[in-house]
Every structure is written in C-alpha cells, then in structure tokens.
Amino acid sequence: MKNKLIAFIVSMGIFGAKAQGSTTNDTMASLMRSNGKIYVVVAVVLTILLGLIAYLIRLDRKISKLEKES
C-alpha cells in the first residue's frame, strides 16, 4: 500500500513536470494541439477508461484472494 502511494505521487510529479514543460515544440505537444485538439479528448476519455479498468482488475484480484482463503 505504501509503495503504491509512493508510485502514485512520483507519477503525478512526472505528469506535472510534463504539463509545465509542454511549451516546447516536441512531436507529442504538436499532436495534442492539431485538428481542433480532439486528441486531448481522446487522452482524457482513455485515462478514465483505463482508470476504471484498473479498478476492475484490482477488485478482481481482491476477490480472487478471498476465494483462495475460503
């Protein structure tokens, strides 16, 4: 649990650093700004979807653990 929390904080730091450094014209940033910025929507929806799937996988693991115990 503690390790997961640390991993989460570190990854948030990386995301934050990326958000601040996005003024540079690398390919990722220019892709995200092209075509009416639809790719930003894709990224947001994908993040939510993958977050929900990660939650489901976690639940699945917990139930499997309980099944092994009983």
Binding site: L46, I53, D60, L66
Partner: protein
C-alpha cells in the same frame, strides 16, 4: 486474478472503440454532425443490456431446471448489470436527444414535450421499470428458495416484455428515433461501412465489460453465501 482472454478482448476493444470512435472518419449528416459517433457508445449500452438480459434469462431457466442457488445468483447479477447499462443508455440518449431533436436554440426542432411522447423512450422506460420490479420482488421475499423460484419465473416474464416494449410497439408508431423499418445498426445495407468497423467491436467490448462486472458481483455474492453457511454451522 483470472485475466482470461475475454477480459483482455474487452480492454483492447474498448480502447479501440474510444480511439477509433473519436478519430476515424464518419458520414457527414446535417442534423447529427459529429454526434453520430454516439452510435459507438449510446447504442452499445442497449446492445450490451440485451446480451446481459439474455444471459440472465438463461440462468433463470437453468435455476428452474436444476434448483441450484448458484444459477439464481448469476441470473440476478446479470440482470442487475444489464439494468444499469440500460439506465446509462437512457441517460446518454437524453443528452443526445437534447442536442439533435429538441435543441431550444433551433426553432425547426421538436419541443421537449413532443420528444417525451416518443414511443421508443416510453417503451425503454417500461422495460427498465419491469426489471426494476424484479429487484423489488426479490428483496421482498425472505425465504431463499422461494425468492429464487419466484424471481426466476418473473425474470422470464420481464424478458418476454422486452420484445413488445422496446422492439415491436415503437416500430408500429411514428417516431423520430431511428429503427423504424428494421434494425438500422445491424442492417448491412443501412449502416456505413466505416462505422461498422468500430460499431461491432464496440458492442462486443461493452458486452464483455458488462459480463466482467457481473462475474465479479457473482463471485462476491458466492463468497458471502459461503461465509453465511460457515457461520450457521
């Protein structure tokens, strides 16, 4: 953790449905515009609901044949997730309709009062309310075997009522909702080939996701039952 092939299929197909659904080209229609992409999400909710209700009735019939409580747990879990997807389909349809049928900024569109009388909307509401009654019926009977038997029989009735309420009656009445002359999303001549490429995988992905959630519910309920029986002894 049992990460079986169909769970991985669900993840892959849903990621594809989001990326492909938002980025791949779609036919340009005047009234719908980009909202035609809702086919991959709103319509899929109803398809997945129908698939889950079909699994649910199969489990109910299995319960009536065998009398094993396991099938009753499965039937109620699939019906629960199916109803939830139906509610999501209703909510997303309401959002979609308020910008393509009844936009108050466009005088050419229908009023909110007239779209409330849409036969397809009323039919879907009736179908969901019938399934709502299934859960009320279940929770009102305390005896386990009696609850399982009565709700299995009611589930067959609820499934049978889906056909007049969402498939037949809306087609007999005039409606703004597509699907008047057949199955527009299933008909190969009607749906655009580019949309078919995303729509069918999306249906499978959403259905598998619903089944995944239902299996988690089932396993949780079975664990609770085991705990309860262990406590009784």
């Amino acid at each position: 953790m049992r990460l079986t092939w169909w769970k991985i299929t669900a993840i892959v197909l849903l990621v594809y449905a989001v990326i492909g659904g938002l980025l791949l080209p779609v036919p340009e229609l005047s009234q719908l515009g980009e909202t035609i992409r809702n086919l991959y999400y709103h319509v899929c909710m109803w398809f997945a609901m129908m698939i889950l209700f079909t699994i649910s009735i199969a489990q109910s019939i299995k319960y009536l044949r065998t009398g094993l409580i396991e099938h009753d747990i499965k039937a109620s879990s699939y019906a629960g997730v199916g109803t939830y997807l139906g509610l999501l389909g209703y909510a997303t349809g309401a959002i979609w309709a308020s910008f393509t049928w009844a936009d108050p900024n466009n005088p050419a569109f229908a009023s909110f009062g007239s779209i409330m009388r849409e036969p397809k909307l009323i039919g879907a509401a009736i179908a969901l309310l019938i399934y709502g009654a299934y859960f009320i019926l279940r929770s009102s009977i305390t005896d386990m075997d009696q609850r399982a038997r009565v709700s299995a029989v009611y589930n067959i009735f609820a499934y049978a009522m889906l056909f007049p309420s969402i498939w037949i009656i809306p087609r007999l009445l005039p409606s703004l909702h597509p699907g008047q002359e057949g199955n527009p999303a299933l008909n190969f001549n009607d749906i655009d080939a580019r949309m078919r490429m995303v729509f069918y995988p999306a249906v499978i992905g959403w259905a598998f996701l619903g089944i995944w959630i239902a299996t988690l519910k089932i396993r949780h309920k079975i664990l609770l039952e085991q705990k309860w029986f262990a406590h009784e002894k």
